[in-house]
Symmetry: C2
Amino acid sequence: MRVTIKDIAKRAGVSKTTVSFALNDPERISAETRDRVLAIVAEMGYVPDPVARALTTGRHGAIGLLLPQPIHEALANPYLCEIVRGIGETCEERGLALTMLPPVRGALIEAARRAAVDALLTIGVGPGTEVAELLRKRHLPFVAIDGLAADNMVNVGIDDEAAAYELMRHILDLGHERIAILALMPEVCAAPASCFSRVCELRLAGFSRAFAERGRALDAPEIRVVPVEGSLEGGRRATLACLESGDRAAMPTAIVAMADAAALGAYAACRSLGISVPADMSIAGFDDIPQASLLDPPLTTIRQPGSEKGAKAAALALALLAGDAVSHLVLRAELVVRGSTAAPRSGPLQAPPVAPRLQ
Amino acid sequence: MRVTIKDIAKRAGVSKTTVSFALNDPERISAETRDRVLAIVAEMGYVPDPVARALTTGRHGAIGLLLPQPIHEALANPYLCEIVRGIGETCEERGLALTMLPPVRGALIEAARRAAVDALLTIGVGPGTEVAELLRKRHLPFVAIDGLAADNMVNVGIDDEAAAYELMRHILDLGHERIAILALMPEVCAAPASCFSRVCELRLAGFSRAFAERGRALDAPEIRVVPVEGSLEGGRRATLACLESGDRAAMPTAIVAMADAAALGAYAACRSLGISVPADMSIAGFDDIPQASLLDPPLTTIRQPGSEKGAKAAALALALLAGDAVSHLVLRAELVVRGSTAAPRSGPLQAPPVAPRLQ
DNA sequence: CTGTTAGCGCCTTCAG
DNA sequence: CTGAAGGCGCTAACAG
């Protein structure tokens, strides 16, 4: 059996209270009693049970992150990694642990139900969601990241519509006509009802505005919106599917991905097909993950401060916990034009020979 | 106030037991009572408190990962990310959450004390450690990753000595004389007493053996062992410090890093100094992180299965929890020779002009 | 300065 | 099929 506070009390000939004080509020008892108690604590190897402690104090020393996908998928996306790292910064400051809560057998709500944490962060959960409801019932302070701001719920994100607009305008300015959009669709997420859908909608709206400005439309035949998983593999698959079907003359000249992680896959797909970037294909992404600038050519993308998002969201959730009034946050995002986007080649596509690669 | 099981019982005119059964063991009570109770549960928005539940059941639905560094630093290392992803796979299978426990204000032991989890994984914690002792006192099943195998403690890792030996032999075979070793030293970790130190020692021993085989020694003047943080920035700093001091003729011709993350920094440092890899400088790493093969030139390294390490370690910890007897695991590692290592240039170093870079 | 006494919210034998 | 009662391990008023 594990040694409990009662064992220490008995052995030391004092009450549980005294033992508790010796550990948590040493000043309040006499030095000798304290020393004797602590000696016995050490001798018997007593460690207070964190769960029992949490039950009485109402504090867990942890903040939770509700993930829309399994952990291994989530961390495969460097952007999500950045968010988690940001949360980690706040945890470090406050001496807290971070509990990652993936859907339990597909059910995000179940994860929300089980969360034993002081405050919670969610990814892409909007107001009115089942999850949001539940958290409110539980009186668990929470902040959404990349969800949707609303009166009864605080959100941290960027202006997705504007960012998407800017990105698409850049592509259109270059003269691209046939464009493939790799969209983070709810269908491909673990939690269909909520995951990323709002963000995706907003970005599509932004793209749409850019098209409209030139008298074009998102649902024109030369524009393809392809659902994609937010991962390298997902991006590769989607791109291959997109490029391999149909004749080359009808092939898009630009791929715009809603996540750099997926853009990485587009690079890989193009390389394997002998399509050179940006000469034959422009590629743009979203997020500006660390590797984006190290790619060859470096990736044109929308920079958004993932780490800052995480850190600020966590700080807000903690403020909520402390009872402060907080409101949602819109962080700055910006277009970063690098080498992966260029004007489309005027003539028909000519696949250059694949460059020799080491190993 | 939050609604508790008592409120439901009162409102439904039944006992707490009945409510509990309605939720956890629906078969045991009559359909009508159950339906009535569940209706009230829904109506009042009752969600059982996970902590109270954990206290009575002794199950938390989470597994913990004790990190030697703050979360944001840990996840900056892609290799650690891989390990976490592997743990995530096992979590997914078992429907568990993952609690990352960084040192609390520098104290890893404090994190171990607080962990409210079913089982724990540690990074680089050896037997006889204060942390190992504590976990044993707590009767908390745990498995070390990259620690040190021992009778009373299960570990998952690779044969670090052998791997290091192989790597250094490759470098020596190429003809390198002046070599810098970027070592993950305990001094640069958050938890000096335990973090990575065993692994570092074993790898140094492996290097040493390779040198000894040629009648050379690790402590010869032309071999420099430089402590480094396991991050790109750490690697860059260490490399710059190494290359900027002293005259170029005495400069190393090869850099061997104990982590690819640090090797990335070595690339960056070389690029900024106009030193070309591998012509003027060979670089080798450890881990084979995903980006390693995408670098230019692709990185020569020791491949070790990070994700598998995490997944297996988690599975072992859970087996321990279930009372099964388990023993430690040595996974397969192998040298992967790519383009970043080559024979040293015979003549004196000639820094080529820096290649123009986009943006 | 220390002990007594209640709970925290839930699950779970044991009776009825 | 349901209820009563005890206990998980700890903290925190309140007395003494």
